[in-house]
């Protein structure tokens, strides 16, 4: 039980850390694509990473707070 909780906490911490630098969860993305657009191709994990990196930094997002 405790082990379960800890791994959940760990999962969320990892997700939070990645979301802080603009990387959403890859599994969530895959699940979403499979569910809503089963006919369309899904980016690989590496493509997904590059796409999100470009989206966060390449489009002139403001540089966080002062």
């Amino acid at each position: 039980m405790l082990f379960n909780d800890l791994s959940t906490v760990g999962k969320y911490l990892g997700q939070a850390a990645r979301q802080m630098v603009g990387l959403p969860d890859y599994q969530t993305y895959v699940r979403h694509r499979r569910l809503t657009h089963p006919d369309l191709p899904v980016m690989t994990e590496i493509e997904f990473f590059r796409d999100r990196q470009e989206a966060r930094y390449g489009s002139g997002r403001s540089g966080g707070c002062c």
Partner: protein, 687 residues
Amino acid sequence: MNLVSKHAIWWLLTVVGVFSLGIVALSRGETINALWIITAAVAIYLVAYRYYSLYIADKVMQLDPTRATPAVRHNDGLDYVPTNKYVLFGHHFAAIAGAGPLVGPVLAAQMGYLPGTLWLIVGVVLAGAVQDFMVLFVSTRRDGRSLGDLVKSELGLVPGMIALVGTFVIMVIILAVLALIVVKALAASPWGTFTVAATIVIAMFMGVYSRFIRPGRVGEISMIGIVLLIASIVIGGQVAHSPTWAPLFTFDAKQLSWMLIIYGFVASVLPVWLLLAPRDYLSTFLKIGTIVGLALAMVFVAPNLRMPAVTQFVDGTGPAWSGSLFPFIFITIACGAVSGFHALIASGTTPKLLDNEKNARMIGYGAMLMESFVAIMAIVTASVIDPGVFFAMNSPAAIIGTTVQGAAQVISQWGFIITPDVLIQVAKDVGENTILSRAGGAPTLAVGMAQIFSQVIGGQAMMAFWYHFAILFEALFILTACDAGTRAGRFMLQDLLGSFVPSFKRTNSWTASLTATGLCVAAWGYILYQGVVDPLGGINSLWPLFGISNQMLASVALMLCTVVLFKMKRQKYAWVTILPTSWLLICTLAAGWEKVFDANPKIGFLALADKFQAAVDKGVLLAPAKSLEQMKQIVFNNYLDAALAVFFIFVVVSMLYYTVIACIKALREDKITSCELPYVAIPAAAV
């Protein structure tokens, strides 16, 4: 009975908060412990969150948990993703917290810890957190659109344009003042300069690694990066002591500002994966880690405050920055109390990730309380160091001279007894040649952090390491802000200029983007350079401009929210935004006016320009100018600063005009006129 027990704990917390604040506010003469401030702040934040933010959520906004958010409606797994609220809290907090909440409170400490602390606590509860929360709400109900867009659709095209231009100018000032902080911290410091230069190399290595070697392994490469950073701090210490290497990394402020300007240009045109992204990983994780570490260390060490509660400088004669308590404390501390910049984030990525409206309260209001807590830690850190050391570090050379003997004499005359030996010892402890005249907040904070951290790990021997760790930690995210900000400024500029010259809009055109980048860097670079050569030390002129512009943006955001409330026919609740708006208007207008027109050359830009012009006319040189040419430059720079302040006043006043018009118009209508998107229910499957 149930009602009583439900509220009892909160009453208790209120009592604790008020009692602690009473200790902080009323103690005179005797030293108090930092934990009193921290307890007071945390207790008041919790009570404010429990009651005031709930009131705003339930009554003012009437948040509807059944209403689909943009993340739900446009879910694409990429930009729009319904995100767990704790994960999103982390994302939002990391985006809003930067150098601002660390630097402003340190500068404000020259008036003692009390004025800043009170403004931080009251300001965040009634203004800052309200602004973040309201803007997040307004943007969420409009597909997560940006602040400029929202102003355009709710107030009209002209105010929308004014807000856009205003945002660009603020961006330029923020970049200049952030760069100035780095320059002040690294001038004549080979250790600091080496480590900061090393971060560029480390980040590029990380970029290559995460692009080609192990793509996407962000956690792994960040760990490697942090280990390399720590190694670079250790090596930096060797470099600083080496007679051959130290001179290679020793630069004066002018050289450093040129380097930063060139760096800003190059970094913002490099591919993002090479430098910007990996350095953002480092700075984000280091920032969160250091903030958590500082909080833990503070509770563990429980330091005493050595700065008086209130110093004589509330009268406006302070050495770090001039101007009296009102209005200047309220613009010196922007981030942490209320920061307009957050409105850009709360209308940026966060609303696109919000899974449910009801979580806007924790994200919008809660994360801002957290930032205020960071600012409280900063003011505490600045107040635990010897006040004599604080003033030696934050007074310009024009006031305290350039020798420790002279500085100690002047500062002791102010009533903060200090000996030259102590100033030499502190510099030696932190591994620097001198600590005199390092205004800008970062070095002062670093000395405080070094004192606190070294009591937990390493003792006296580790002081120098911790000092340079703290400098690096700030320089790292300031540099990230510099190139991310230059990029953002470039896109804004292309957008703005594109309205007149359509070819400018093409973001994939090299000519257009290089020109826009060049203009953007030249703008902040010029302001940075004039700050470096400013006779009063730069911070004195630039920080107030930054504060005024940031608070001006906050009042624009709050005015937008007020208009939205009127248009929603909820004007009876509009006091929630009108109250902070009014206060910000009073402060920014008063401060702006004084910065332009005050007869004291230390405060008024025009008075300083006149003083130098008069000297030019007589052919007399005034320090620090060394030629008539430089004298004329200082005159011009002060006219420029005055023009910027006048521009901010113009933005505030014109936005106020449009706001009043929009509110009157909304009152005359008998139906709801806000541009909110129609209600869509959350699909059952998504709940």
